[in-house]
């Protein structure tokens, strides 16, 4: 109701009031104007009535004068006095000339000059003897003549019957002029046909016929003009209103009263009513002023109220805007309001700068600037789409936006609403941050995908594993059956047991991988960080992998680029696992006769206490498809091809490798091409140990080293590597040069302490060089041969040539040191190499804690085979009780399974160690567990155990452990 009142009724009512006011005003002014016009015309008639009467008097006066002068002329005796008399009268009455008029229409002036004048009213003058007023033209001068019949007379011999005086137009204009009407009034005396006799126009009369002029120059109709003409003929007065040009004129005419002469006045209407109009104008102005004052007062009141209201509204609006700004700044939703018609941006929430990195001002200027933030080529909501949204409707879509300042990417749900806000159509666009939802969805999708993939992989894995496990198991079962059948055939028995062992080992590796992966996935993997030797690692790799490569007639090479730090701190076991995985895969998936290279290089690292190594395993094998490369590191993934399907594998190797690399803070990536080969690159960082003391070289009197290698780069590397050792390295690039250097040094009594020769040098090879040095120097200088080849076949020949030892390429200082150290030390130290005699367990009594009866039986049998005995406990508690109740020295060692019912191995060990048994602290306890990870070992040590044996039990490992615990370390306190 209130809205209806404000929106419809009030404007309507105001319009009505306005219309009434305007109509009333118009009627009032019309009334006033009519009254003024009536008064003005009345005034005009009065004035020109007076003029007309004056003109009549003027005519009569002229005629009277002429009649008087007629009498005078009759009586005058002396004609010569006439000119003077007339000059005097001319001066007095203002006429231009006096004439005697003869019957022959000639006229004579008092000076005797004679002219001819054609009087229209000649008959009236001469025949009817009536006074006349008429117009004549003398010498192109238009004159008005007043003439009266006179008594016949003679002047200067000229007979006359009438006399006349003439006036020029200018002479008479004054008698018709009025001071009123600002001098803008014109007055004419004309004949009834309109021909002008007299005019008050400035400059004289320019009209031949004013009726013609009225016809041509005014808007009078023919009927009106005809009426005028009739009025003039009938000597009737009249008043006309017409336009001449753009000016409204009032034309008043009235008969002069002589002949049909008409006196006509033309007055501009505005001039005629000027006085009245000024009153009208004043009245109007006063009323207008009053209205204006009232209006202005109302306006001021309205403005003040409006302003006050506006100010309140503005303050409220500002408050709301500020509040909205503050609110919007605290949320991650952007609000934009567009005008419905012109798409002008009315509002942009200020948080757009924080969220998208563009200012609200720039967005206001050009909303399309937001498109620059959209990631990808997607188009945000188009104008055409907005136009299609119905009122109260909306559309939405989602885009990823990038913050222009920070580069941060966020997902926004853009919702465009078509709103009607106080009858004004607006588009409101809200950009709601959906990054979390998007990420959650993405994570969920990824998780789902992973789960599906994992599920699929696991299904595939189980399928594969089923096959992979069944295959060795079948072999084991099958050969076990055959073994039973052929137990009496030693050859068969050995063959079957060898095959059962091989199948068992394969099965074991499968299980190890599965367990390893399971451990990694569960996040329980930890690193066993310790100092280790990189050369040793490579040697081990070489030892392990070279035979595999040779079996496939493959070339396997290890290259070192530049120099390397040899002593590192890291998890050697895991690094070994990574590299073995990569290298064994390379060997596995490279065809017979292929080539595998393993390249190690050190990457620049600004931190001195760290070193970053790059390991590159490259092969020219079968390679991988691009598709497979995408998920090669996913668990349970194997390339599905006719070739790979024939190769055994769990599909876990690369996943384990990647996880281990990442666990070590490194990166791994692969480049591969089907049929060309693959390259795996691993980059890992290691901590560097404290540098070794270089005094060891001095202590062993090694201060000069001669190196001969045709590859200058190797020479340079060796110099670099030995730089911190204090050993002076002399390099030559040929055997001959080496001989020369050695001989010269010997002659100077500065023999080299070690000579290092490359085996294969052009010209003189290493062995020949060594031979010549031995021949010429005779000194007992250790000569080593540096080679990347297998030297076993030439070892005897080399020794015969005087070569003391071989050193595998690449050159490592530590390896070099280990190689030459025995040459400078007591020979007894050469016996340090661990050797475990086979009878080390003979006669020993073991307490075996094993809940699995079969495993216990196997172990018992294997110990028996080693000449040892054992007592079996079925769980930890049983084992602890057996030990606690045993006499000191009864058991030599305890082999403790970890996972057992009732009490596990760790708890049992702790119970033993904490017991009062005399050997509680010293009895060696070794853990037996399928869990072979570093943390398992650490857990075992923490529980008080002395060693760790991985299941299934390998007797060689048992012998080594027993040897170490019982003979090398001896029994000690393990608290």
């Amino acid at each position: 109701m209130k809205k209806w009142f404000g929106k419809i009724f009030l404007p309507f009512w105001m319009c009505i009031v306005g219309v009434i006011a305007v109509v009333t005003g118009c009627l009032y002014f019309r009334f006033i104007a009519d009254r003024i016009y009536e008064d003005s015309t009345s005034h005009l008639k009065e004035i020109y009535g007076q003029v007309n009467r004056s003109f009549g008097i003027f005519i009569e006066r002229n005629w009277g004068l002429l009649e008087n002068w007629s009498d005078y002329l009759v009586l005058v005796d002396n004609e010569d006095s006439v000119p003077e008399f007339m000059e005097e009268k001319k001066e007095k009455w203002g006429f231009s000339e006096f004439y005697f008029i003869g019957a022959d229409r000639t006229c004579m002036a008092p000076d005797g000059s004679v002219i001819t004048a054609e009087l229209t009213l000649w008959d009236e003058l001469m025949q009817k003897r009536q006074p006349v007023m008429d117009g004549i033209s003398i010498d192109r001068n238009e004159l008005i003549v007043f003439a009266v019949p006179a008594i016949h007379g003679t002047y200067r011999g000229f007979d006359y019957d009438a006399i006349a005086i003439t006036y020029t137009n200018a002479d008479l204009a004054d008698s018709l002029n009025v001071d009123a009407f600002s001098g803008k009034a014109k007055c004419f005396v004309m004949h009834e046909d309109g021909s002008v006799l007299l005019s008050t126009q400035t400059g004289g009369n320019v009209f031949e016929n004013y009726l013609v002029y009225l016809n041509a120059a005014t808007d009078l109709t023919d009927e009106e003009l005809e009426d005028v003409r009739n009025d003039w003929e009938n000597e009737t007065s009249g008043l006309l209103q017409c336009n001449i040009g753009d000016v409204s004129q009032c034309i008043l005419y009235m008969p002069v009263g002589y002949q049909n002469y008409v006196l006509l006045s033309v007055v501009p209407e505005d001039t005629m009513s000027a006085g009245f109009l000024s009153v009208q104008k004043m009245t109007a102005n006063i009323l207008l002023l009053l209205f204006l004052l009232v209006g202005v007062s109302l306006f001021v009141v309205v403005i003040i109220r409006g302003r006050s209201q506006n100010r309140r509204s503005r303050l409220e609006l500002q408050y709301r805007e500020r509040m909205f700004d503050v609110l919007s700044n605290t949320v991650d939703d952007i609000f934009i309001m567009l005008d419905h018609d012109c798409f002008h941006v009315d509002y942009v929430s200020p948080n757009i700068e924080r969220l998208l990195g563009i200012s609200a001002e720039s967005a206001k200027k050009n909303i399309r600037i937001m498109e620059e933030c959209v990631v990808g080529d997607e188009v945000i909501i188009l104008k055409a789409e907005l136009e299609k949204i119905p009122v109260q409707g909306s559309v939405f879509r989602e885009h990823e936006y990038m913050n222009q300042n920070t580069g941060e990417r966020r997902w926004y749900r853009i919702t465009a609403y078509h709103m009607d806000i106080q009858d004004v159509a607006k588009y409101i666009i809200v950009l709601s941050d959906r990054t979390r939802d998007q990420k959650m969805n993405q994570d969920l999708q990824e998780a789902l995908a992973i789960a599906r993939s994992a599920n699929e992989a696991k299904s595939s894995f189980l399928s594969n594993m089923s096959h992979d496990i069944r295959t060795p198991m079948n072999a084991i079962v099958g050969f076990s059956v055959l073994l039973e059948k052929d137990a009496d055939k030693p050859e068969k028995v050995r063959e079957y047991t060898r095959k059962i062992t091989a199948s068992s080992n394969h099965l074991l590796s499968l299980i190890n991988d599965v367990l390893d992966m399971s451990k990694i996935e569960s996040g329980k993997t930890s690193l066993n960080v310790d100092k280790f030797s990189l050369p040793e690692l490579f040697e081990e790799l070489h030892i392990i992998l070279d035979p595999q490569a040779k079996a496939k007639e493959q070339t396997f090479r290890i290259y070192v680029q530049g120099t390397l730090h040899e002593e590192l701190i890291g998890d050697k076991l895991r690094l070994n696992q990574i590299l073995i995985n990569l290298l064994s895969n390379a060997i596995k998936y490279t065809q017979v006769g292929g080539k595998i290279t393993f390249t190690i290089s050190e990457l620049p690292n600004p931190a001195k206490q760290f070193v970053k190594l790059r390991f590159v395993v490259q092969d020219n094998g079968m390679g991988m498809s691009e598709e497979f490369q995408q998920h090669i590191f996913a668990p349970f993934s194997r390339e599905n091809s006719s070739i790979t399907n024939k190769i055994q594998g769990t599909g876990l190797g690369m996943a384990i490798t990647k996880n281990l690399v990442e666990l070590m803070g490194g990166i791994i990536h692969v480049e591969s091409e089907t049929g060309v080969g693959s390259t795996f690159t691993v980059e890992l960082s290691f901590t560097l140990p404290e540098p070794e003391q270089k005094e060891k070289w001095y202590l062993h009197k090694v201060s000069r080293l001669l190196v001969a290698d045709d590859e200058e780069e190797i020479c340079h590397d060796i110099q670099e590597l030995m730089r911190d050792s204090g050993v002076e390295v002399t390099c030559v690039t040929s055997g001959a040069a080496a001989v020369e250097k050695a001989v010269r040094a010997h002659e100077q009594h500065e023999d080299f302490h070690v000579i290092l020769l490359d085996w294969k040098m052009p010209g003189m090879n290493g062995m020949e060089t060594a031979r010549r040095i031995r021949e010429q120097v005779k000194a007992d200088v250790p000569i080593l041969v540096l080679t990347s080849y297998d030297w076993s076949e030439i070892e005897e020949e080399a020794k015969a040539s005087g070569i003391n030892a071989f050193l595998a390429k690449p050159f490592f200082v530590s390896t070099f040191w280990q190689t030459i150290r025995p040459l400078f030390s007591d020979q007894t130290q050469q016996q340090e190499t661990a050797f475990v005699p086979e009878g080390v367990m003979k006669g020993k009594l073991f307490l075996v804690a094993e809940d699995n009866e079969l495993n216990a039986e196997i172990l018992t049998e294997m110990l028996h085979m080693e000449g040892a005995k054992c007592e079996v406990a079925v769980n930890g508690q049983d084992a602890a009780e057996l030990f606690l109740h045993s006499q000191p020295g009864h058991f030599d060692m305890i082999l403790m399974d970890v996972q057992m019912p009732v009490m596990n191995g760790y708890e049992a060990t702790r119970q033993i160690r904490s017991s009062a048994h005399p050997e509680a602290k010293t009895i060696p306890i070794a853990a037996m567990t399928a869990n072979t990870f570093a943390e398992d070992v650490r857990n075992a040590i923490d529980a008080g155990m002395n060693g760790h044996l991985a299941k299934p039990i390998n007797m060689t490992a048992v012998r080594e452990l027993v040897s170490r615990l019982l003979y090398t370390e001896g029994k000690g306190d393990h608290t």
Partner: protein, 420 residues
């Protein structure tokens, strides 16, 4: 058709004559003039007659009207003077160094053939005949649309006051009273100035001796004031600043303007034939410019042919003028042309009814063209510039008069006139 019957035998005779003079074919006379002047039918006619009868050739050198004076004077300065040079009257001739370049023609046999009126326009201040007037001899005055005036019941003015009243009445009635071509038309003010200098020769003498200036002459000021007022009152119309030579005909033929200051032959040569009004609708009254109460007419504006006294073809050029002054030649050329007689034997031309009707008024108020031809340094173009400046509000009446003086004196100084 009757005219052609007469002309054909005459042409045949001329051709025969031309053939007999074939030994003079090598003479080529150069004639320099304005393009529009040289294209007049009577000019082309006399040229054709001359070439056909004498066998001589005429090399017509024509320039655009607006460029003519400047190009011609430049050529004269460079010594490139044609055999025959066409120029309007004896006005502005100083720049062409008349004494040095042109023959005085007082002793030519054809001088007696000239009407006195025409001859007067070709004399210099010393009474030397400078050229042969071969042109439409016309009467300049205020030509008004009689049909419109009669239609309004109005009669022509006999005094300045009446003229002003007529102008105001016409303006009030919605007409443009006067077509004033302010855009480059130089002749308008000179009509008003003629009475000042023609009626009192002492004024002319003083101004030519630089003893007085325009500013010292009240009538000049009155004239400029009247022109200024007329423009202010709208008597020239609203667009008169853009009205030039080409627009006069349109305005007059359409009835947009009722009066203009021009000459009678213009109506036969330049009034558009397809307009509402034709020559029969016009009549003549004096020019009123507030310098003389009864108004004034200016006598004919004649183009004259002058002979280069240094030309190797001087004799041939003089013969060419004599050829033109022969009745049988000029009567062919001016056959049917509306003009007042230049030659006493002129019989084939027609005289306009407008001039005939106003004969007594012309007789009473006609003056020889004095301002443009007699005032040293006078240039119609300069006067146009001064008025243009005033019309555009850049200067007032006094400034306009001062500009007219400055231009005039500057020109006189350039001409090296004694006293300036």
């Amino acid at each position: 058709m009757r005219k052609r019957a007469i002309l054909l035998p005459l042409t045949a005779i001329l051709c025969l004559t031309g053939c007999s003079n074939s030994d003079r074919n090598d003479i080529t006379l150069s004639i320099m003039g304005k393009q529009s002047d040289l294209n007049k039918s009577y000019m082309t006619s006399i040229f054709q007659q001359y070439e056909e009868e004498t066998g001589n050739k005429l090399r017509i050198i024509a320039y655009e009207d607006t460029e003519y004076e400047s190009i011609a004077s430049a050529k004269f300065e460079a010594g490139d003077v044609p055999d025959v040079f066409l120029h309007f009257n004896n006005a502005d001739l100083n720049r062409f160094n008349v004494d040095e370049n042109f023959c005085y023609l007082n002793d030519q046999s054809w001088v007696s053939e000239l009407s006195e009126g025409a001859k007067a326009y070709c004399l210099d201040a010393d009474g030397n005949l400078l050229g042969l007037p071969f042109w439409e001899n016309s009467v300049s005055g205020c030509y008004y649309n009689k049909t419109i005036m009669d239609g309004l019941g109005m009669k022509p003015a006999t005094t300045q006051a009446e003229f002003d009243t007529i102008c105001q009445v016409l303006a009030d009635t919605g007409y443009t009273p006067i077509c004033w071509p302010a855009n480059g038309c130089a002749w308008m003010p000179q009509f008003g100035m003629d009475p000042i200098f023609a009626d009192d020769p002492s004024v002319l003498e003083k101004i030519n001796r630089n003893e007085i200036t325009y500013a010292d002459i009240p009538e000049i000021h009155n004239m400029v004031q009247w022109i200024s007022d007329a423009a202010e009152k709208g008597w020239f119309g609203s667009d008169f600043l853009n009205v030039g030579w080409n627009e006069i005909g349109t305005k007059m033929a359409s009835g947009d303007a009722v009066m203009t200051f021009i000459w009678d032959t213009w109506f036969y040569t330049d009034l558009p034939e397809n307009g509402t009004y034709t020559v029969d609708d016009f009549a003549l009254m004096p020019v009123f410019m507030n310098t003389v109460d009864g108004g004034t007419y200016e006598g004919g504006n004649l183009n004259m042919m002058m002979v280069n006294k240094k030309s190797s073809n001087k004799d041939a050029a003089l013969e060419f003028l004599a050829f033109c002054a022969e009745p049988e030649h000029y009567n062919i050329a001016f056959d049917g042309i509306a003009t007042v007689n230049c030659f006493v034997g002129q019989t084939t031309n027609i005289q306009s009814q407008m001039v005939t009707d106003a004969e007594s008024s012309i007789k009473a108020n006609q003056r020889v063209s004095t301002a443009s031809s007699r005032i040293i340094g006078y240039s119609g173009d300069d006067v146009v510039l001064a008025f243009d400046s005033m019309f555009r509000g850049n200067t007032d009446v006094t400034g306009c008069v001062e500009m007219m003086d400055n231009y005039r004196i500057e020109e006189a100084v350039q001409q090296g006139i004694t006293g300036f």
